[in-house]
Symmetry: C2
Subunit: 281 residues, 2 copies
């Protein structure tokens, strides 16, 4: 079994970005990300820590704006106005899901599309569907594709089963893989036999947010397993959507959690901030 | 074998639209579609004839604008300007594919998104991906869903194989079916064994534009076959992507060509024009 390290991919991406960040600074431009966090959810804080750590090593500024989880829609809109109009900010990352009572759709339509580094905006989403060459996808979906590219995993003519149909990862990654010539099946809570759909795949992308649901019953030898999940198990330990302990001895290759897709996601986020800053230059 | 008549579905849709068109006329609004045709391709002309015929029966005006196939990008842009700015026009249908040398992407970004009745615009496309409730999809994709609704075909938990990955039909119909709780697999030219992927499905949606490619080898009893193809066979006769003669005796239900999905597509186009006219009212 080969362990597909996400850190290795992230390092490669970051190395290139460091050069570009230095070039920007030579021109007097300081790339800057604003994180908008509402409340104190543990997984939001974990993601935030990861971002702060990586961005710091590359000399990129992060402004964290924290709002109370009881914030009104009006107050949130005002915050967005401020961030949208601040020309020193090149990207806005909103930690999601938003607390109940705040509309995700409204938020996606409020954020300045030029600062939408996680590509939540409907126009950006359309580009993924349209297969616009080199378009930017939501960070996690793009992270999966970066992993595939880095490890030279063949997708052409391969069967891929995607477990999960979210707008952030399941649907866009299915479209990107279809464009990459894979034959893609998307499973979800209403799929009758997810194990069977997984077993016949050459590559499984697990992204449904259910801890360790992809068990030894779902896999067979020669498969490549990409685990996008980020959950907390019964012992309070970080784990993926795949039962790593039971699945890894069977398959050909697998990404760990942590140290897998999540690490790449943060590097892709940095890439999107740098691209926006370069556009301004 | 049950023959799934598209005309029956189209009649049902049109009946409701006639009432709405009359109500618009009472308010002094005449719904009007502009068709933009470049050149004299036979399939364009066939589609155009179908639209003219249906729209006439409902008292809806169609202006056909014909440009020479050697038209320049500049001239085409000017034509779009005219159509976009004419407040008497509620929808613009561009017959595609465009002749070589004219950019489809440029065209999609030039058309007024409020008059884009085939939902080619990247923003509209994004709504389909995002699963915006009651969003409008490209006419053919929406026609397939209307057929499924009319004949009360169960999609929840069913396996659907879509043959074709175009932006006009394959990808949007796959997303709509995923939202309708089906487990969807998208096949295309790089899929290794399309026949096998088809055989394991409960529902096949054939939309690859290859005459009669779905043969008796692709199907089994109890399946429902939805044929979106519109091709000309070796004898110059209209045919679908499914070999109707050989497939129909085997399966549970099938749409014919002509008289299947195509008929519904024209009715959906009319619906989009009426919706736009109602918005203006």
């Amino acid at each position: 079994m080969k362990r597909l390290s996400g850190r290795e991919v992230a390092d490669e991406i970051t190395k290139d970005l460091k050069v570009r960040i230095d070039a920007l600074k030579d021109k007097g431009i300081e790339p800057k990300l604003a994180i908008l966090r509402i409340g104190e959810r543990e997984d939001d804080l974990a993601y935030e820590r990861g971002v702060l750590k990586l961005f710091e090593t590359t000399g990129t500024t992060v402004d964290v704006k924290v709002l109370d989880e009881k914030v009104s829609q009006e107050e949130l809109d005002k915050t967005f106005d401020g961030l949208n109009n601040d020309s020193g900010i090149h990207g806005i990352l909103v930690l999601r899901p938003l607390p109940k009572g705040l509309s995700d759709e409204h938020m996606r339509n409020t954020i300045d599309s030029g600062k939408d580094v996680d590509f939540m905006d409907v126009r950006n989403v359309g580009e993924v569907l349209s297969g616009v060459p080199d378009c930017s996808a939501p960070c996690t979906a793009e992270a999966v594709m970066a992993l595939i590219k880095h490890y030279k995993i063949e997708t052409k003519g391969k069967r891929v089963t995607v477990v999960g149909r979210s707008l952030v990862i399941g649907k866009p990654v299915a479209l990107l893989l279809t464009s990459a010539n894979a034959t893609v099946t998307v499973c979800h809570t209403k799929t009758l036999n997810v194990a069977e759909e997984c077993k016949r795949a050459d590559i499984i992308v697990a992204c449904c947010g259910v801890a360790k649901i992809v068990s030894e019953r779902y896999v067979r030898p020669d498969q490549i397993i990409i685990d996008v999940g980020m959950n907390v198990d019964e012992n309070g330990k970080l784990c993926g959507d795949v039962d790593y302990e039971k699945v890894s001895p069977i398959v050909e290759a697998i990404t760990p959690v942590p140290g897998g897709v999540g690490s790449i996601t943060t590097a892709i986020l940095l890439k999107h901030v740098v691209i926006n800053a370069e556009r301004q230059a």
